[in-house]
């Protein structure tokens, strides 16, 4: 029992610890941040030990080695966030609260991943959403921040409404809400399809799949950078994991339906995401749309509906965490120093900050899927998994979308490396932990691909 729920318990413990420390007052931000980072690191390391599989609460909660791995990937992501945004954390006076919220959201995701029952799933989903809305509002004095939070909370409330309606219909149609029993009762009647579409929409909303993606860009832009990265990496990852297991296990009988649905939406997502990303000036917004396009790719992998699909998606999420966090880390470094967050502000960055530029370049190449960065392998395996179903039209579109995405990633590269600039961003001082974080990300981007045993481990 204890070891089965280990990750959840650890996170809860950390939350309470933070709570007491906070109540205890008298601790400076720096040391507090250090403490948190240490705790998270320990949490991450602990993720590798005492992993036991099992089912609790009459199937409401389940844990397998794969699930543990997924949770640990998220742990890693959170740890990296705590490193990368240190400068921002140190400045904000409510830092512990932010972490409490983030960790409770993480807790929610953990439950989400190992939920074995629609009720549990719903609760976990809400738990992983509502705190994020609060986090989005964390720049209390910024208008955009509150607007973002407002958009987030309202749309997510709406989507959870839809989700619940779907669940209720499923309940009505099958009389059960437990994942283990549902497959027997599903046979693709119109009512069930309707219910499934409602459910799917909720997933799509969280994963920001077209046409349920519209909140994404605004929220990403308005929210503080830490929140944005959390949203774009961690919560996406979590939802992708549960999405896969739901589709593969629960809605197995309706695979014909959801395969087509996934395919259509994936194409739409890639195209729309790319087309919007082409025009963006604001880095956060740019990354928002690029991440939408990335989700399109994830869907390609998901569409395979087989074991490869799962492993390739997990692998990609891991890589995606490194790449995207690296990009956000660089962006936040620039932003916290100069307050600029536009692509044009990066012009001539290379002249003054080679380190940041190279990390950014690595991250973007990885996102674009250029070897030898890990992104290449991630994308390739997604495509391969997708191709296993044999619809080459789909794969060709995906492959061609890589070109468009390359175009806008190169836009940034060009701004950083090629464009002349009279007064480029002055030399940026990055504090140790941020540097550490960036280095970890860079190392991850390079190594995760080349060291094939990582992929085997995931498998």
């Amino acid at each position: 029992m204890l070891t089965i729920m280990k990750s959840e318990l650890l996170v809860t413990a950390i939350i309470f610890l933070l709570l007491f420390v906070k109540l205890g007052k008298g601790m400076k931000n720096e040391s507090m941040l250090l403490l948190i980072q240490v705790l998270l690191l320990l949490n991450f390391i602990a993720g590798f030990f005492f992993n036991t599989e099992g089912i609790l609460f009459d199937g409401m909660y389940q844990s397998t080695s794969m699930i543990v791995l997924q949770k640990n990937i998220l742990n890693l992501g959170v740890y990296l966030i705590s490193l990368l945004f240190s400068s921002w954390f140190k400045r904000s006076e409510h830092m512990p609260e932010f972490f409490m919220l983030m960790l409770s959201a993480l807790l929610g995701m953990f439950f989400l991943i190992s939920s074995g029952n629609l009720l549990m799933f719903f609760l976990a989903l809400e738990l992983s959403t509502i705190p994020v809305a609060a986090m989005a509002n964390f720049d209390l004095d910024k208008k955009r921040s509150s607007e973002a939070a407002m958009k987030m909370i309202l749309t997510s409330a709406f989507s959870s409404g839809i989700l619940l309606f779907g669940i209720s219909l499923i309940y009505g149609a099958t009389g059960t809400i437990s994942f283990s029993e549902l497959p027997q009762h599903l046979d693709g009647t119109p009512l069930q399809v309707l219910a499934f579409v409602f459910l799917f929409a909720a997933f799509a909303f969280k994963l920001s799949i077209v046409p349920f993606h519209l909140w994404t860009a605004d929220v990403y832009e308005g929210a503080p950078m830490a929140t944005t990265s959390f949203l774009s990496v961690i919560s996406k990852g979590a939802v992708a994991f549960i999405f896969i297991s739901t589709l593969y296990k629960v809605f197995q009988p309706m695979q014909g339906t959801w395969y087509n649905m996934v395919m259509i939406l994936s194409i739409a997502t890639m195209i729309i995401g790319n087309l919007f990303a082409l025009r963006q000036q604001n880095i956060k917004r740019f990354l928002a749309f690029s991440s939408i396009a990335q989700v399109g790719f994830i869907l390609v992998g998901i569409s395979s509906g087989a074991k490869e699909g799962l492993s390739s998606v997990v692998y990609f999420i891991l890589i995606y965490i490194f790449s995207n966090l690296a990009a956000f880390g660089v962006a936040t470094a620039i932003e916290s120093q100069t307050g600029k967050e536009n692509i044009d502000d990066c012009k001539g960055l290379y002249q003054t900050n080679p380190f940041l530029s190279w990390v950014l370049a690595l991250a973007l190449f990885s996102l674009a899927g250029i070897p030898p960065t890990a992104g290449f392998f991630g994308k390739l395996f997604l495509l391969t998994a997708g191709a296993s179903t044999g619809s080459y039209f789909f794969i060709t579109i995906a492959a061609l979308n890589m070109i468009i995405s390359l175009y806008y990633y190169l836009r940034v590269i060009r701004a950083v490396f090629m464009d002349k600039n009279e007064q480029p961003v002055e030399k940026i001082k990055i504090d140790l932990s941020a540097k550490l974080g960036l280095t970890i990300c860079a190392a991850g981007i390079v190594l995760v691909g080349l060291l094939s045993w990582i992929y085997d481990y995931i498998q």
Partner: protein, 104 residues
């Protein structure tokens, strides 16, 4: 005076759902929009109860689900209100159309 059947209830809940949706689409006041969401949730509750009572009377999943939904709705509302208040601070209005700074 006839005994209300499943379909009556489902009809009501569907009506509630769409009223809620309509309200959410058309209302400009954030709090009202929040209320419309509550309507949607309530229609869901009605669904669960009805299904539970008429289709699967021997299991209580639906009822429990309803209870949890109510609880969660409260939590959601709390955070939402907080955010709206904050929005009021910064925008000096809770009109949704004043918060359209970020677009395209």
């Amino acid at each position: 005076m006839i005994e209300p059947g499943l379909y009556h209830l489902l009809f009501i809940s569907a009506a509630l759902f769409f009223i809620g949706v309509y309200g959410f689409f058309t209302r400009r006041n954030l709090v009202t929009m929040l209320m419309s969401v509550e309507l949607i949730l309530n229609s869901v509750n009605l669904n669960f109860i009805a299904f539970n009572k008429y289709l699967w009377p021997n299991k209580l999943d639906g009822v429990f689900f309803t209870i949890f939904i109510i609880a969660i709705a409260a939590a959601e509302a709390a955070v939402a209100i907080a955010i709206i208040i904050n929005l009021y601070r910064s925008h000096h209005s809770i009109d949704v159309e004043n918060a359209e700074e970020m677009k395209f």
